[in-house]
Amino acid sequence: MKISKQWLDTFFASPLPPAQELADALTFHAFEIDGIEKLSHPMTEFGDEVLDVKVTPNRGHDALSHRGIAKELSAILKLLLANDPFVLRPLLAPVTTDVSVELDSKLCKRYIAGYIKGVKVGPSPEWLKQRLEAVGQRSINNVVDATNFVMFNMGQPLHAFDAGKLGSLNIGVRAAKDGEVMVALDKKEYTLNSSMLVVTVADAPVGIAGVKGGMPAAIDETTKDIVIESANFDGVSVRKTAQALKLRTDASARFEQVLSPEVAAHGMQSVAALIQELAGGELRGFVDVYPEPQKPMYASVTVEKVNKVLGTTLTGADIADAFSRLGFVYKEEAGVFEVQAPFERLDITIPEDLIEEVARITGYDKIPSTPLDEARGTPLVNPNFYAAEKAREELVAKGYSEIYTSVFAEAGERMVLNKVDSVRPYLRDSLLPGLAEALAKNKDNKDLLGLKEVKLFEIGTVWPASPKTSSRGGKGGKELVMLGTVSEKEEASEKILEPVDATSYEILPLSNATRFEPFSKYPYIVRDVAFWVPKTTELTTELITELIKKEAGELAHKVMLFDRFEKAGKQSLAYRVIFQSFDRTLTEVEVNQSMAKLSRILVDKGFEIR
């Protein structure tokens, strides 16, 4: 989520340290930062900085807002949160009878309606536009902007309806009927079904609950009376609805995370005040339907357990400090902490949740590095891994190289659903097709590889076809690990890799490669050159090889000695030169030129080209 540094400042008595410091603080104690953007404003001297905060899925309920991030920074940097909108209990007064709210679904835990008459809808003031632009939102009008501001400020999605266009003030929340249709604020028509929740007025849908409001009651310059909605809708239902309609919004993204219904009251209080400030009007009052108020949540942990899990030697005072900084109310007695989690922290339930809070606020750099105790006895050898390693050694010694191919095949008994690329959706029942394909591909590159014969093996999982007489439900037999081999001289074959018992592993060699050398995707051209070397020559074979590598030119990718023999006092050497470029296909002409040059040099050295 985009978080504006200037916006964060509004929660504190003095401006916060620069964004990079805030980013480091969050990275090491709360959330990863995906980048910092600098914005410049004509209105302010210093401009703004926007952090892209990656709020983890377990903190979506409290940290997808500036207040949430400010609260985190307050704990991490030990700075008092001077303006916390959650501190005062919201007084949603007066109650109005002009509006009625009927909840007809357990998927709505709370619905608060706020009714303001006689507002003047117009452009927002500069400060509000700046706030919204900093987090990538467009300014629409003062009323809509106020609802968006409060959502990004404290995490409560809000919506405002044009009460005049609604025609009635009898609000309902119920399941949509199958096939029920609504035109949303994006002007698109959505077809709903009974798994989705709608907000209705006189039983007609005016909003897809928690996702998007309806077009008919949109706020515009003609709007005079408004009803504001601050509610709490079931996260799973909102997520599935947004997914099914392909309509993910900032509101749905927050409800998906499961919000505390307590936040709705703070949201309403804040937005009602803000709208009156920006657009005037007379507050008629609120209706708050909240059948099962959220109960206080408690979790407890002992000092002993904290240290037992973390491997630290923290004191009660250290732990108390972490809780205080987080604003957790706690009682401590004889090393036992009982903590009342703030209402918005729905993730604090078990002792381990508290332990994590202590650890991250204290800092993971305070966790010591402790090796495990010396192992007692030698671990058992895994017979399947042992068998695989044995097979690898035997085959590698015979010149086979190991490949891994995809488990996905063009045919098979079992199919995966919804594969992103839709290619090869079956689970393979054999290694053979993959091996055969790999052999064919690699044969083309034999010269480049300097191989006389391509030999491959794979140890991999297959899902064989079920026996025709299988009485089991389900498809296919059990998955098997097979060892498959193929070479230019032998057809691909495979067998089950049987486990091998052993008391200890062989010490087998590891790759001593230091670096992968990327290879060209362009075709290569091969040229051979063979020549007689007089016995009297001072040059060793190694030096001759070096000479050829040097004189074959830049385009020569590889030089290999592939044959030598002696006859009548002379030695014959035969070299293969592979020409290849990284950025283009080479021509015969270029290669011929290089070879001609090489030949001239060899002749000059006194070698007789065969």
């Binding site: 899990v309 332990i355 993971y364 010591p368 058992l380 010149g399 079992r414």
Partner: protein, 244 residues
């Protein structure tokens, strides 16, 4: 002489290092039940990861998935030990293939390799996790490698962390390419096994606790050998494999 696949070399090496620390090598099925892949690991039924988007489900086989991580084997292993009457402590690594229903590009593949680690006992701590990973990476890179944690979240651990490592600058090109040395690199997710998972596996979370980690082997291989494209791993191309 042929070559083993670089991933196999890495697994062989990891086994050698962890063996010294008393770890057994375990494995589990690639086609896994939803229960082991998600529920036992404290991933709730309505979690987005269980959507078709990220996970491969099998036609006509509800409740089965291609495993999305090697973590299910944590639970399988503990269960199998209990069945044999063997109580903790346990130390186990689980290298193996995992699957994500994702588009393929230079750094993403639908099938890739992970290595899981699990240590469970009466007194296993987060400090042991730090010490163990420090030892592992120091052995892997043959020098003093530093480890640090950053807060993160996975449903099956609490606390949950991301693990970064830093290879000292003076270790030289043979150990790691220059651009990797002296910098903090994100290597894996880890944490203390969630009590729900300990319970699902059949142990008493009041008595036993432990740490777990999961790393992408393709990523470790790519960093170590400067491999530019993850698609080389399953290419079956000897121009790649024979370099190792």
């Amino acid at each position: 002489m042929g070559s083993i696949h670089p991933i196999s070399s890495l697994i062989r090496e990891a086994n050698q290092i962890f063996l010294q620390m008393g770890f057994t090598f375990a494995e589990g099925p690639l086609l896994e039940s939803e229960w082991y892949n998600f529920d036992a690991l404290n991933v709730p039924k309505d979690h987005p990861a269980r959507d078709m988007q990220d996970t491969f489900f099998i036609k006509d086989e509800p409740g089965m998935v291609l495993r999305t991580h090697t973590s299910p084997v944590q639970v399988r292993y503990i269960e199998s030990q209990i069945k044999q009457g063997i109580q903790p402590p346990y130390r186990v690594i689980v290298p193996g293939k995992v699957f994500r229903n994702e588009a393929t590009d230079m750094t993403h593949e639908a099938e890739f390799f992970q290595i899981e680690g699990l240590v469970v006992g009466e007194d296993i701590t987060l400090a042991h996790l730090k010490g163990t990973l420090e030892q592992f990476f120091s052995k892997l890179y043959q020098g003093k490698v530093e480890i640090r944690f950053r807060p993160s979240f996975f449903p099956f651990v609490e606390p949950g962390v991301e693990v970064d490592m830093r290879i000292p600058d003076n270790l030289g090109d043979k150990v790691a390419p220059e651009k990797l040395r002296g910098r903090w690199l994100e290597m894996m997710g880890a944490g203390m096994v969630h009590p729900s998972v300990i319970k699902s596996a059949g142990l008493d979370p009041a008595k036993y606790q432990g740490f777990a980690f999961g790393a992408g082997l393709d990523r470790i291989a790519m960093l170590r050998w400067s491999i530019d494209d993850i698609r080389h791993m399953h290419s079956a191309d000897l121009r790649f494999i024979n370099q190792f």
